[in-house]
């Protein structure tokens, strides 16, 4: 279908618009309709997976329409190996988030479902945009729905958390806007074409130097805040803890991936020299994050906060993998992005289920649940083991590949990172033991009900995927390998650009390998013959 990506991206927002006209009192209708819309979007996105050609490195399902031609802005969308998985992760997690809020959100339900659907459009737009302006529009636009989700339906300290989240992220992304503009003008001055199109911009080789470093840093700051990379992580614990369950699932599952996605899509291809130069620093920060996140998780009394800090730790692994710039590291990083979305999303779902029953998240308030809620405990065990990286489940695949890649680049860093897995086992298993095992220490816990059919329906798909990726990861990694290989080749050929013109390598933007799923309409893309390095 020609406009499949546009349909997938905007259908949630259109659905939200339709829901605006449903009267507030029909709560059941609202919930069901929203869930159906989200499921429909997921169904629409499945052809993206099945129709994706894993051997091709270029962008597929591309669509391009003029938007502001004089400025060089076009509506250009497409997916490659990296974004396809993230799009599917988004469309997969959103119905689960909505389903988890079935009884949890009663006040202002209509605004909630509308906000979640609008947020979904924003997130999908970020992943599919191939135009810097369009990307930025979606990047900023999805801040506000998330702000409302945390601020209106969150916990006691929700306003502080929401405002902190917005201001922190906004500051970073506004600096990125300046870098976008600077890059746009430099590219235009050097090649004569003023455009925001990522595929065109990625073909241009920027000379290494202060300008490239500053632009890289501006982009990197915005993404580092999102990831979050230590020390820009301080917004995360508050936002995650105060957000409602559905909000936390989306925040941890998808929003954090936008940061790592940004590094892959922009920092590496556009600023390869700076990426290589700052690589050691970023890797070091990532490893610090892994260990620090794990240590802080260990001492948390609140389960949700423990899971929040574990996100810092897990995404440290992803960042480490990305900046190894090896095939294993990158593939591991991408698959770990998906894994983290699934396992941490599931962890938040289960914490939410606990909270719905007992209205507390303190570990000390639980204990001995395995006797009372065996199904819950079993699911919890699978998810905990997935999070800590037990072989056979998805977490191991990602962590192993990342560590293999990291070991080849910097054995010491890899060694320290490996200890992160040990610490993950410490905090996760200790938490699990205190919550699930042992004797029932609080009388209220004896009366807990086990998983309802709705909760089974929410958790089962996640666990299926957790096992599937753990046992047969090629179904997913196979789709990304070509893209990542081309990315590495692009970075290597563009960095340290010699004065000799280098032939156009097989970058993700290579038109020869792009599968024509949509006719590319007239776009003023001037093709400078070989990439001429900026003197």
């Amino acid at each position: 279908m020609r406009s499949l990506l546009t349909a997938v991206t905007f259908f949630p927002a259109l659905g939200a618009l339709a829901l605006v006209f449903v009267p507030r009192s029909r709560a059941g209708v609202l919930k069901t309709a929203a869930l159906l819309i989200a499921l429909l979007v997921f169904a629409l996105s499945l052809p993206l997976y099945f129709g994706f050609d894993g051997d091709s490195a270029g962008f597929q399902f591309e669509e391009e329409r003029a938007w502001m031609p004089t400025l060089g802005v076009s509506y250009h969308v497409g997916i490659d190996g990296i974004s396809m998985l993230l799009v599917l992760l988004t469309t997969f997690l959103t119905p689960l988030a909505l389903a988890s809020a079935w009884h949890a959100i009663e006040d202002r339900l209509k605004e909630f479902v509308v906000t979640v659907l609008v947020l979904e459009t924003g997130m999908l737009g970020v992943f599919v945009s191939l135009d810097l302006f369009l990307f930025y529009v979606f990047w900023e636009a999805m801040l506000i729905p998330m702000y409302f989700i945390i601020g209106v339906w969150g916990g006691t300290n929700r306003v502080y958390a929401a405002v902190k989240f917005v201001l922190y992220t906004l500051a970073g992304s506004l600096l990125m806007l300046i870098a976008i503009l600077a890059f746009y003008y430099r590219h235009g001055a050097a090649t004569g074409t003023y455009t925001f199109d990522i595929t065109t911009l990625a073909r241009w080789v920027v000379a290494p130097g202060l300008a490239q470093n500053l632009m890289f840093l501006a982009f990197a700051l915005a993404f580092a805040i999102k990831v979050p990379l230590f020390p820009f992580h301080t917004w995360l614990p508050d936002a995650h803890v105060e957000a409602p369950t559905a909000g936390s699932v989306i925040l941890a599952g998808v929003l954090l991936k936008m940061g790592t996605y940004g590094f892959l899509r922009f920092c590496l291809p556009l600023f390869p020299d700076a990426s290589l130069a700052f690589g050691p620093l970023v890797s070091a920060l990532a490893v610090i994050g892994i260990v620090y996140g794990a240590w802080v998780s260990t001492v948390q009394p609140d389960v949700k906060k423990l899971v929040a800090y574990s996100s810092v730790s897990h995404l440290g692994f992803v960042m480490l993998g990305i900046f190894t710039l090896t095939q294993q590291g990158l593939v591991g990083g991408v698959i770990q992005m998906v894994n983290h979305g699934l396992s941490t999303g599931a962890l938040f779902l289960m914490v939410g289920m606990m909270y719905e029953r007992r209205h507390t998240r303190l570990i000390t308030d639980f204990g001995g649940l395995w006797k009372v809620v065996p199904a819950f405990s079993a699911f919890f065990m699978v998810v905990v083991f997935s999070s800590l990286g037990l072989p056979g489940l998805n977490g191991f695949v990602g962590e192993f590949l990342i560590l293999v890649g990291a070991f080849g680049v910097n054995p010491w860093l890899a060694a320290v990172a490996t200890t992160g897995i040990v610490f993950a086992a410490v905090y996760l298993l200790w938490m699990y033991q205190r919550v699930i095992f042992g004797e029932v220490t609080h009388e209220e816990n004896r009366a807990l009900t086990d998983l309802s059919p709705r909760e089974w329906a929410v958790l089962a798909p996640v666990v299926v995927l957790i096992v599937w990726i753990g046992v047969y990861p090629t179904a997913f990694t196979g789709k990304t390998e070509a893209t990542l290989e081309a990315l590495i080749a692009q970075v290597e050929s563009k960095s340290g650009a010699p004065r000799v013109s280098v032939a156009v390598g097989a970058g993700p933007a290579d038109p020869a390998t792009m599968t024509p799923h949509a006719p590319v309409s007239g776009h003023p893309r001037s093709m400078p013959a070989p990439r001429t390095p900026l003197q």
Binding site: R108, V137, V152, V159, V163, L177, Y184
Partner: protein, 484 residues
């Protein structure tokens, strides 16, 4: 007997202004007649006048005209500014209809003064001569001074009017002295002829001092730092619909005149005024945003935010070229819709029969009046600069012009200020959506005209945010005649 040489008088270029003035005269006449239910008639006549002027402007597009020996220049730049001003005036008229009925005296002179002010603004944008510029400025300002004090029985209104008048007269005298010095340096007050004469004489001391004094005068009118002190008090004290006009129309007209003077007449001194305005822009943005954080009165908060937005627009003036002023014009268009909308919501809300102007009055608004809260929320988000609303695109064009001209640091200051501004705008959103009112919260004053104005403003900010290209290109094209 010798033939009397009668100079050719063309009043075509004055058509939009004359329509507005005609409507003003008609309003004054109608005010004299006994009127059972005549207040709607007066407001309708006023609205018709403004809309008529808008249509006349649109009809003259692409057909520049000059009148009175080049004293009035109705080129595309003036036409674009006229459109912006007419939109502002139309929205304010719509907001005034029910606001006045609720709050204060409904006098025919309100609409007459409003129309006089509008005609002054339109003439200001089309002034091709420094004397006409001063004339139009005074016409606009005097009308606004009186309008600010319209609520005679309220101390705040009278105080606002007094402050505005005294400080305004003071600044106007600076402006006049600057004009006199420039005349002394160049022997002409016509902008084009000044450009020709001043081209090679950028360091003539008379000219430099004249330029400085001119910037002081204009700086007051656009409320840039350090001439901004009148703005918070006047915005807070004046009737809210008048505040809307001051914030939108007078700013648009003053910026249009400023750009015209700087870009045509004083092009030779560009390095001088660019350096000066760089500092003014940076300080204005920062002071406006930082002080706004401490405000609890919504009108004062919007006043300081207006000051900050002036700072952003000055970035465009500094950037220069065709991108800079074009971005400023486009930003003024988006700014009119956003600000008129925000003040419009204020006119529609009251708490305990008093205007709801404290931020705390709006606590929990989202529950009782979700549409109104959503409207105010959207206007505030547009002011923050969140896509896909108009405010984002306006800021984007401004920062793009700055980066292109090489003013990276100014752009960085601009974006950091935008991040700071998000805090106080979002605070209002927090009160509306995330807090409950203590006691009874603000309630809606039903008003069809006010609702219409809000709807137009909302459509405007969404349209300009999603499809900005045609309007932005028009703005860029409008600046072209100035740069010749």
């Amino acid at each position: 007997m010798t033939e009397l040489a009668i100079p050719a008088v063309t009043i075509g270029p004055l058509a939009p202004v004359l329509i507005v003035l005609g409507a003003a005269g008609l309003v004054l006449l109608l005010d004299l007649l006994p009127r059972p239910g005549g207040r709607e008639l007066i407001a309708t006549v006023a609205l018709a006048g403004v809309v008529g002027a808008l249509l006349a402007t649109l009809m003259r597009w692409g057909k520049p005209g000059r009148a009175f020996n080049d004293m009035v220049v109705l080129d595309d730049f003036a036409l674009f500014a006229n459109v912006v001003i007419c939109y502002a005036a139309a929205l304010v008229v719509l907001l005034s209809i029910d606001y006045l009925r609720q709050k204060g005296p409904e006098a025919g002179e309100y609409y007459a003064l409003l129309l006089f002010a509008t005609s002054g603004m339109m003439l200001l944008a089309a002034a091709g001569d420094l004397v006409v510029l001063f004339l139009a400025l005074e016409l606009m300002s005097l009308s606004l001074y009186v309008l600010a004090g319209l609520f005679k029985r309220e101390l705040a209104s009278s105080e606002a009017s007094m402050k505005y008048f005294v400080l305004g007269a003071f600044a106007a005298s600076f402006l006049l002295y600057g004009i006199a010095l420039i005349y002394g340096a160049t022997a002409t007050t016509n902008l084009d002829r000044i450009a020709a004469t001043a081209a090679g004489r950028a360091h003539d001391p008379l000219l430099v001092i004249g330029l400085g004094l001119l910037l002081v005068g204009f700086g007051f009118k656009i409320s840039s730092v350090p001439f901004h002190m009148w703005a918070p008090d006047v915005y807070q004290g004046a009737p809210t619909s008048v505040t809307a006009l001051i914030a939108t129309g007078s700013k648009a007209a003053a910026f249009a005149a400023l750009i015209r003077v700087l870009v045509t007449a004083l092009r030779g001194s560009q390095p001088d005024w660019t350096a000066l305005l760089w500092i003014v822009a940076a300080v204005t943005m920062t002071v406006g945003n930082v002080v706004a954080i401490a405000q609890s009165n919504l009108k004062r908060l919007l006043a300081y935010s207006s000051i900050a937005h002036v700072g952003y627009m000055l970035i465009g003036v500094v950037a220069g070229g065709s991108a800079g002023p074009g971005a400023v014009l486009f930003y003024l268009l988006t700014y009119v819709f956003t600000t008129a909308g925000a003040f419009g919501v204020l006119t529609l809300c009251e708490r305990a029969r008093v205007e709801a102007v404290e931020v705390g009055d709006y606590a929990g608004l989202a529950r009782r009046h979700p549409v109104l809260a959503a409207a105010l929320g959207l206007f505030l988000l547009s002011l923050v600069g969140i896509p896909p609303l108009a405010g984002f695109v306006g800021k984007f064009y401004l920062f793009a012009a700055a980066v292109r001209a090489g003013y990276l640091w100014l752009a960085v200051i601009g974006v950091l200020n935008s991040a700071i501004a998000a805090y106080y705008y979002l605070r209002v959103v927090v009160f509306m959506y995330m807090r409950e009112p203590d006691g009874v919260g603000a309630t809606l004053v039903p008003s069809f005209a006010g609702g219409l104005a809000l709807a137009i403003a909302l459509v405007g900010i969404v349209l300009l945010g999603v499809i900005p290209a045609p309007f932005a290109d028009l703005a860029q094209a409008a600046v072209a005649p100035l740069l010749r």
